[in-house]
């Protein structure tokens, strides 16, 4: 019943509709767009270094003659998947760990929060640097997602935990206990939905953080390696020349902004759909 009601409210929500359409379009552009471009992302045009956008190179070229249109779309393909997955995993992990720690308290709380604190104080780059040589052989983008997610959920989970502690005392949670509903079900049915506003905001922020963060991780030899590109590496490379050769920076950054914006819209819509207090 709830899922049906929420889905109907979500569909009725204008923000969510526009957001999903925008995200769908971005995905389509990322995967189908390259077929319309004149150049492949691997090609280099040695006649046009750092040329501004024109009829031939729609979004200009890089310093080694790569077509910006082709490589931006190529980067988008990776970044959309990585961004969304990381956001889902890290927010999901934060919600589950935080809610379980907060709800059960005592022993479970201490162990989980000890783990969270440990992950917070350990410099994530150090861990990644230690792990990276071992994974290098099979370093697929999935590992990449796992590592990014593993180091971005802790603070949220602490927030979730403290909110859960106050929710735990609510009468509707007590009512569920007295009905004989298992505790893990109470967490997923009563606690997590009531944290959804926070979790949705966190997830949308995580999308952009993951896409930017991926560039930093590439430095350690993970996932996207040159000559392959991602939005993160493109933005990192282009930001130095943002004023002189704006197209190097503007197109990947613009793609990122559009991506985050559409996720934001979906998030807002979802939040409104889940929140009975909103009128939309």
């Amino acid at each position: 019943m709830r899922s049906k009601v929420v889905l109907r409210r979500l569909i009725a929500n204008r923000q969510a509709r526009y957001g999903s359409i925008a995200l769908l379009l971005l995905v389509l552009v990322a995967y189908i767009g390259p077929y319309f471009g004149a150049y492949a992302w691997t090609e280099k045009d040695f006649l046009a270094f750092l040329s501004p956008p024109d009829a031939d190179h729609w979004w200009g070229t890089t310093s080694i003659g790569q077509d910006m249109y082709a490589i931006t779309l190529r980067g988008m393909q990776k970044s959309i998947v990585i961004g969304l997955l990381v956001a889902l995993i890290s927010t999901g992990l934060a919600a589950i760990v935080g809610a379980f720690a907060g709800y059960f308290g005592g022993w479970a709380d201490r162990v989980l929060m000890w783990g969270v604190d440990l992950l917070l104080v350990l410099p994530s780059f150090l861990i990644i640097a230690i792990i990276s040589p071992r994974l290098k052989a099979g370093s697929s983008w999935l590992w990449f997602v796992v590592l990014l997610a593993a180091f971005s959920w802790m603070i949220t989970s602490r927030v979730v935990r403290s909110m859960t502690i106050s929710l735990r005392e609510r009468e509707y949670v007590l009512a569920a206990v007295y009905m004989g509903i298992p505790r893990w079900k109470i967490i997923f049915r009563h606690i997590v939905p009531n944290l959804s506003s926070l979790l949705i905001i966190d997830a949308t922020l995580n999308v952009s953080a993951a896409i930017i963060g991926e560039a930093a991780l590439s430095f350690f030899g993970f996932g996207i390696q040159p000559p392959d590109v991602s939005l993160g590496t493109l933005i990192a490379a282009g930001s130095g020349n943002a004023t002189g050769y704006p197209w190097l920076f503007a197109f990947p950054a613009g793609a990122l902004v559009l991506l985050v914006l559409s996720v934001n819209l979906i998030g807002d819509g979802l939040r409104d759909a889940l929140d009975p207090g909103s009128n939309s």
């Binding site: 019943m1 709830r2 509707y172 009512a175 007295y178 009905m179 049915r189 009531n194 009975p276």
Partner: protein
């Protein structure tokens, strides 16, 4: 000449919310004007507008004159000079009305020094005097205490002391006793009367409690949907209400001296201030509605001989002529009698049995090395049982252990001491599967209908939750059936709790509790969060469900009037112990324990004549901490009998020996835990009490 003169006051909030729509009243010197209304009727907004305390986006029009000086539109610098000096306000929640980081004495002294040129030490002295005036013991010591060190009743007294610090001409009291227990409420109302005599101020008393108004007010203004609908001297209005809303309100309140039988409910809900019905706003709920009522809103016009009385109803003369009362006008539902009750109590099955149940909480200290520094004796050995089809009410003030008892029962876990036997099964001897199965038969309805329903779940899911948890298949049909049972429309199953009014939400809570067809329903203050006009409907529903479904209720409440109406037996708790237990008739008509007597005499009756003549047994002080209860009889520190009627040897017994519940001679089902139990009448005959 009147102190305050309010004329055609209107307050509109952004979004077209007309909170107040034309209120006019006058307050004379030394007069108490009671403003009654349900939540959302605009009674608080009216007074905030007079004080100039509304948020800046509220649009206020009309006039409010203090001694002929217009208050509305006065700029803040001038208002500051009036607030606290000419007009003072007493708020509902005294904890949030004091700044937590300053001592009470400093805050009162500050109030004095703001409006009077006075040296610091003199102001401090005045603060102590004021605290003494409002009856705070050891005022010189207590003045140095911080707000959190005061109990609720003490804080409200201090608030009154602060309000009268500058001899105001007008006191506005906004629900001054709503957050307090009845015995404390009686104390505070007494202090308010003293304060009024001391200052000669006029008082505007805003409350929803018709009992409090009956005892305090000289004149009453009844508000509905932002407008006064009836106004008049208190006796006239209470004995001869001429507007159907007032009539319904007066008829719908359960009375502690009242009869059994269904209450008079007012159907429907108060209209939302942003979408008022055309014509009379009460028309949709009014049993006397005629087509003309929808044409235009009736103005508040003078009524009857003598003046001072005005009514806003087009049929008021007809009501006067026929001498109608609330019970005549409003349809009283017929509640089918219970089948079970025909069997004598002794032969009925026992649904719940508590045998010397104990629940103590440890008091811990220290962050790292926790050590036990004491014990809170929350529930300290209580014994009672509930037979099939019976309602046992557990009454007592906050902190007496009612809620702890409930939780202990609902947890179905082994208690710390004693036994809890639910439907013949001892909670200490059942395994996990059995406990789960037992949960079907014991369900709970919570106090706050907003907090008890998950705000993010549609009603369908809320009611279906227990059904699914216990593996019922026909969920959808059952939910519709349950919604109908509690008087809601099954079409509303897809809505969220926030889309319902308080009374409707409580009905949803009841539907959820009934989903598994329990045998015992635990009701934790089920109507105390509801408005008076809604309350009656829910009480009737509970009564009807009990009779038709053969339920047993364990009913926890602090409102003794509701208890009288709904319960068969009543157990009065004091500091984790039962003070008195017995059938409702016995306990209410012949209370034997001094605490029960005080409790019953403290309840305000919605009857001005009786309120004036009746003699109150006022209790001294506050409830002692359950972490450090007095030796012997726990009530002796506040017991009026202990203080005035007993001799030294008798007192010694109270100090040394803890009384246990003993059956009173000559009563079938009535026991009291007092060494010197003596039955007296408290409620009806106030005269012979005086003789004693």
């Amino acid at each position: 000449m009147s102190i305050l003169e309010v004329k055609d006051l209107t307050v509109t909030f952004p979004g077209g919310v007309q909170a107040v729509r034309g209120v006019s009243y006058e307050v004379e010197r030394g007069e108490v004007l009671g403003i009654v209304g349900e939540s959302g009727s605009g009674k608080s907004v009216t007074s905030l507008a007079v004080m100039g305390l509304l948020p800046p986006n509220a649009v206020v029009s009309g006039s409010a004159k203090l001694h002929g000086r217009e208050l509305l539109g006065m700029d803040d610098d001038e208002l500051v000079k009036i607030r606290g000096k000419a007009i003072s306000m007493i708020f509902q929640d005294p904890l949030s009305a004091f700044t937590p980081v300053y001592t009470i004495g400093d805050q009162i002294a500050e109030a004095v020094r703001i409006h009077q040129r006075m040296a610091k030490d003199k102001a401090a002295k005045r603060a102590v005097e004021l605290l003494d005036l409002v009856g705070i013991p050891h005022p010189d010591v207590r003045a140095k205490a911080f707000p959190h060190e005061f109990s609720g009743g003490m804080r409200q007294r201090a608030m009154i002391a602060m309000a009268i610090a500058n001899d105001p001409d007008l006191l506005i009291c906004d629900e001054p006793t709503t957050a307090l227990d009845v015995t404390i409420q009686a104390q505070v109302l007494e202090v308010l009367k003293t304060a009024q005599q001391e200052t000669g101020a006029g008082i505007v008393m805003i409350t929803h409690d018709l009992g409090v108004i009956a005892g305090m007010a000289d004149r009453v203004l009844v508000m509905y949907a932002g407008r006064p609908v009836e106004q008049g001297p208190v006796d006239d209005l209470y004995y001869r209400p001429r507007m159907p809303y007032t009539m319904g309100l007066l008829a719908s309140i359960p009375r502690v001296d009242g009869e059994e039988g269904p209450l008079v409910p007012i159907e429907g809900n108060p209209p939302s201030p942003s979408s008022l019905p055309p014509g009379c706003p009460f028309a949709p709920r009014c049993p006397m509605r005629v087509d003309m009522c929808d044409d235009e809103e009736p103005p508040l016009i003078p009524f009857g001989p003598g003046g001072g009385r005005s009514v806003a109803c087009i049929r008021s003369h007809e009501i006067e002529h026929k001498g109608l009362t609330g019970a005549d006008v409003f349809p009283v539902p017929v509640i089918p009698p219970s089948e079970v009750v025909r069997v004598p109590r002794a032969e009925r099955a026992t649904v719940l049995e508590l045998d010397d149940m104990i629940r103590h909480y440890p008091l811990m200290k220290g962050a790292v090395m926790k050590r036990r520094v004491g014990t809170v004796y929350a529930v300290d050995g209580i014994t009672f049982d509930i037979a099939e089809g019976e309602t046992l009410a557990l009454v007592g003030e906050s902190g007496c252990g009612k809620t702890t008892t409930l939780q202990q029962i609902m947890q179905l876990a082994p208690p710390e001491g004693g036994r809890v036997v639910v439907l013949g099964k001892d909670s200490a001897k059942i395994d996990k599967a059995m406990r789960r199965a037992l949960r079907r038969d014991v369900q709970i309805v919570f106090q706050d209908p907003m907090a008890a329903l998950d705000p993010r779940m549609p009603v369908q899911d809320i009611i279906a939750e227990p059904l699914r948890a216990h593996g019922r298949k026909d969920v959808r049909a059952r939910v519709a059936e349950l919604l109908e049972l509690v008087g809601l429309s099954p079409e509303h199953a897809e809505r969220y709790p926030s889309q319902f009014s308080g009374g409707q939400r409580q009905r949803i809570g009841i539907a959820r509790a009934l989903a598994l067809e329990p045998k015992l329903l635990v009701l934790d203050e089920p109507v105390s969060a509801l408005d008076v006009s809604i309350q009656a409907g829910v009480i009737n529903l509970l009564e009807e469900l009990k009779n038709t479904l053969g339920l047993s209720y364990l009913f926890v409440a602090h409102d003794l009037a509701v208890v009288r109406h709904l319960a068969d037996r009543v157990a009065v708790m004091y500091l984790g112990k039962i003070a008195e237990i017995g059938t409702v008739e016995e306990v209410y008509d012949h209370p034997a324990h001094p605490y029960t007597q005080a409790l019953l005499s403290a309840i305000p009756l919605p009857d001005p004549e009786m309120e004036r003549t009746r003699k109150r047994i006022l209790l001294e002080g506050d409830l002692p901490s359950p972490a450090n209860p007095p030796t012997g009889c726990r009530f002796r520190t506040r017991c009026p009998k202990f203080a005035t009627q007993l001799d030294e040897a008798q007192r010694q017994r109270c100090v040394d020996e803890e009384p246990s519940v003993a059956r009173l001679a000559g009563a079938v089902d009535h026991g009291a835990a007092c060494h010197y139990a003596e039955e007296i009448e408290v409620i009806t005959a106030s005269d012979d009490q005086e003789e004693k």
